[in-house]
Structure formats: structure tokens, C-alpha cells
Amino acid sequence: MTSVASTAALEVEGLCKSFKAVRALDQVALSLHYGQVTALLGDNGAGKSTLVKCVSGVYAPDSGVIRVDGTARSIASPEAARSLGVETVHQTLAVIDPLDVVENLFLNRELTRGGRLGAWLGLLDKKRMRAESREILGRLEIRIPSLRRSMSALSGGQRQAVAIGRAAAWGQQIVLLDEPAAALGVEQAARVLDLIRNLRDAGVAVLLITHNMERVISVCDRAVVLRQGRKAVEVEVSEVTKDDLVAYITGAQTGDIDP
């Protein structure tokens, strides 16, 4: 799982984004490849979430190019990102509590019945959505006690699993995960990592933001480190240690020195 694949699934070049006087992203480049997990590392405020939000259509970058499958795209809205096969699990805004599991999985992707008239009226096909939800969760080996439970009745791990499951179910190409296991216990976090491996094995290009170096070592192929909005270094995870990664993040070791 080393070396670079052919065309990048997602390629970012010269990405800049400022908030008033603060330069959140400064000429950042990044590429994601199919069947690989790329870690996006950096201290708080390094620009990780901003980068994810630029790619997922939440923020409009000030300048820079975003290529999906080699074609330059402007991603003006979350809807535009989704239509390009880019699915995102944002840090805290992943699921809607009062809705149940099926409703969250199919949020804004609801299936309708009754042909074209039904589609125009938006008549929900609840039965098919429930069946497909079962299939999606089964495929990803996510175990949820009941699909009819509202999200607020589920544990943190189950909620996060549903959020990732939604991204995985629709993002057949590219999935961006912003600290998906941050609030989870050890066992639940391990389940999330398994889920990420399943995605990778299915050929999905995955971007993982995390503060946990063990997770980087255990699941990621490459790591990109941001520092103060700039790309500090990009490394093959198999060639570095946890301590190296921490040193890159804090700036104790610069990217110019070959590891």
C-alpha cells in the first residue's frame, strides 16, 4: 500500500483561504488516491478543517484549483461536492438527532415511489429506504440495535458509525473524515478504524483528520502535515515513526530534512 497510484482521485493545488486578516490556508497542495487513506495532520488552527470545508463546498476558497479525477471543478455548495462523489463527515455536525437511522442515512437523498408523479410530489418510499439501509449497514458491518431509533438514543460510536456509513454509502469515490473518532471510547474508535479500512479496500480515496498518531500509523498510507496554513511536509507513513509525526506537527522537525 505504498507508492503513488495513477490519476489522483482528488487533487488540490495552490489553495488559499483567508478569514479577514487571518490566512487559514496558504498555497496548500494535496492529493488523494483511490484505495489509499491519507492522514491530514496539524495542530489546532493549522487549517485542517478549513481545507476539508473548501473541498466539501462549505467554504469558497480565495484561490487555487480543485481537481476531481483530473478535471478542474468549482465546488460551490455541499450539494455540488456530493454530486462529484465527495462525501464528508464534519467534526460535530454529522447527524440530526431527532431523526432516526434510516432518515439520517437518506437525508436529502430520499427515495420516492409512484413513478414520476411520486417523484414530483416527493412521496417517500419508506420500505425501500429501510431495506437499503439494512443493506448499507450490513455491507459496512455497522451494527445498530434498531433502525427506527432516533439518533439521540444511540451511543456516540453508533452515531458516528451512521455518519460515516452515510458518507461511505454515497461517496463511492472520495470520503473526507474530520476527526471521526475524536469523542469515542477505545473499542468504538477501533470499529471506526475498521470501517475506514473497509472503505480503503473497496477502492475509496479517504482523507482522515485526526490527532491520534497511533491511528495514523495503523490505518493511513500517507500523511500530510499542515502548519499555520501551509503544507509542512508530506510523508509515507511506513517510513516514519509516531515521534517523527509529532515533531512535524509541532515544528520541532521541518519537512526539508528527509526522514
Binding site: 450539494e79 447527524v95 440530526i96 431527532p98 430520499e110
Partner: protein
């Protein structure tokens, strides 16, 4: 864990249980309660409120709090009757009445979504403007229907039930299906449950909210028309009491004022609970002053249960 799981169930079906219990209690203890005439009367009296409350429920679930229903309810029949008086065309008058409500609702929706004003304050402000328009259009006097068609809108009887009640049933059915069976309904829950998450999922949050206010306005307009068809007249005022009845039915039914949770059928149950309660008071000749106190206590209990279950959910 037992409480955490039983509470949503209590909240979901509690209103149905207490409404049935009240019904049975009144049936057992009260002379004159179990009569067709009494029930027809209750149905007819509730028709305007049910029309407005079913769509007010949808707005509340979307996270909006719309108190402009009272002003629309008062003013839409004034516009409608002016049209009826001058053209003699009752159908056109009804359309105008509903359109007035729709226009106010769209205005509310735009103020809330574009200017990002808190919806309670926004609809309070538009209420005053609409009440004012009512005095202007009616020249501060009572308007009376001039055609026979006007009373027939809500007072015709089909199988013993007034057309006002049939109309209410139809509106309730539309609201119910829209909310529970369509994508739009799903998006209403999503927007009220977590607007930011809904936006990130690509749901057009502002459009969904605006449509909610628009439909609520139109339904309040229709409610005003039905009411004036029952009374054959319309009177300009600045009386907010109609919307308090609407909101009471919604929250007693168990729809959350925080948004994201609720159902049209619950509001119907809430409306009938309050209506049966008042009916029982009247049949037992309980002092109207005490009626108010008890009604207030019931509303307080309903929102307390809501607040309590919100805390449990966290």
C-alpha cells in the same frame, strides 16, 4: 434507561391516551356530553383552529415560531368580504382571503431567512402591520356578507357535518401527508432538528423554512374565511387570541417548540383535548375564570414535559 426509553413513547402517545381518557371520563360523568349534536358542535367550532394549527405544527417543527396567524385570521376575511361585496363572487373572495394569508406568510419567511430575524419577533412585527391593514381595508367597521354563497362555504351540511368541518378534515389530511409522507416533510424535520447539519447535507434550508411560513399563512387565511363564513361577517381588531389557541393545541399535542419533533395528528389530539376540556367545563357550568386557570396549567404541563424530555435527550 427505562425512563430514557419510555419518555419518548410517553411524549409521542401521551396526548392520545389523555384525550381518550378525558373523553371516557366526560362520557361517564356528564349528561349531554354523549350526543351527536354536541359532537357536531365541537367539530364545527374547531374547524378554523384545526385548519391553521395543522400547518402551524409544520412551521414549529421546522424551528419557526409564527404568531402572525391571529392577524391573518382577523384580516383575511376583511379583504375577502370587500371583494365579495363588490363583485358578488364568493369563490374569488375565498381565493383573495387565502392569497392574503399566503402573501403574509411569504413575507414572514423572507424576513426570517433573509434578514435572519428571530421568527417570534418577526411575526410579532408583521402581525401589527397586518392588523393595521385590516382597519384600513374595512374602514374600521364590521363587514357583512352580501351573497348566499358566503355562508354556504362553511355552513352547508353533508351527512350532518358542516362543510367547515369537512374542509378542516381535508386540510388536516393534506398537512399530515405532506409532513409524514414526503421529502419536503423530511426536510422540515431535518431543518428543525439541526439546520446546520441539514445545510451540509444539501437541504435548501431557507427555502424549506420560507415554504413553511407561506403554508402557515395561507392556512390561517383559509381559517379566517371559514370563521367569517360561519359568522356571516368579519370585524377588524387587534386580537391575538386565535393564535394562542393554535399554539396551545400544537404544544399540548407534544410538538416540540425547539423544533425537529412533532406530528400533525398530535396537534389534532391536542386541539380536541382542549376542546373537550372546555366542553366539559361548560356542561358542568364551571366558572370561566377557573376554566382559564386550568387551561393555562395544562399548557404549562405540556411545555414542561417537552423541556424535561429535551434535557433527558442530552
Amino acid at each position: 434507561m427505562m425512563i430514557a426509553q419510555s419518555l419518548p413513547v410517553a411524549r409521542r402517545y401521551g396526548i392520545a391516551v389523555v384525550t381518550v381518557a378525558l373523553f371516557l371520563g366526560l362520557a361517564a360523568t356528564t349528561d349531554g356530553f354523549l350526543s351527536q349534536a354536541n359532537f357536531r358542535n365541537i367539530l364545527d367550532q374547531q374547524s378554523a383552529l384545526l385548519i391553521a394549527a395543522s400547518f402551524a405544527t409544520i412551521t414549529m417543527i421546522s424551528g419557526g415560531f409564527d404568531i402572525s396567524a391571529a392577524s391573518v385570521y382577523v384580516v383575511s376575511p376583511l379583504f375577502a368580504l370587500q371583494v365579495e361585496n363588490s363583485t358578488g363572487n364568493a369563490a374569488l373572495a375565498v381565493a383573495v382571503g387565502v392569497a392574503v394569508g399566503l402573501a403574509v406568510g411569504v413575507g414572514n419567511g423572507l424576513v426570517v431567512t433573509v434578514l435572519k430575524v428571530n421568527s417570534f419577533i418577526a411575526t410579532l412585527a408583521t402581525s401589527f402591520m397586518v392588523f393595521g391593514a385590516g382597519f384600513l381595508v374595512s374602514d374600521r367597521s364590521v363587514l357583512r356578507a352580501s351573497t348566499d354563497a358566503w355562508p354556504s362555504i362553511a355552513r352547508t351540511r353533508w351527512w350532518g357535518i358542516t362543510t367547515g368541518a369537512w374542509l378542516a378534515a381535508a386540510v388536516v389530511a393534506v398537512a399530515w401527508i405532506l409532513l409524514s409522507r414526503t421529502r419536503f416533510g423530511r426536510h422540515v424535520y431535518a431543518v428543525g432538528g439541526n439546520a446546520e447539519a441539514a445545510r451540509l447535507a444539501g437541504v435548501p434550508v431557507a427555502r424549506v423554512k420560507t415554504i413553511c411560513f407561506a403554508l402557515a399563512g395561507a392556512s390561517a387565511g383559509l381559517a379566517g374565511v371559514v370563521s367569517s363564513s360561519r359568522s356571516l361577517s368579519a370585524l377588524p381588531s387587534d386580537d391575538f387570541s386565535f393564535v394562542f389557541g393554535v399554539i396551545a393545541a400544537v404544544v399540548v399535542g407534544g410538538t416540540s417548540i425547539a423544533g425537529g419533533e412533532g406530528a400533525v395528528w398530535r396537534t389534532i389530539a391536542g386541539a380536541f383535548f382542549i376542546a373537550l376540556m372546555i366542553n366539559g367545563f361548560n356542561l358542568h357550568q364551571i366558572d370561566p375564570i377557573w376554566q382559564r386557570v386550568i387551561q393555562g396549567a395544562v399548557i404549562l404541563a405540556a411545555v414542561s414535559i417537552d423541556a424535561w424530555s429535551q434535557r433527558r435527550a442530552l
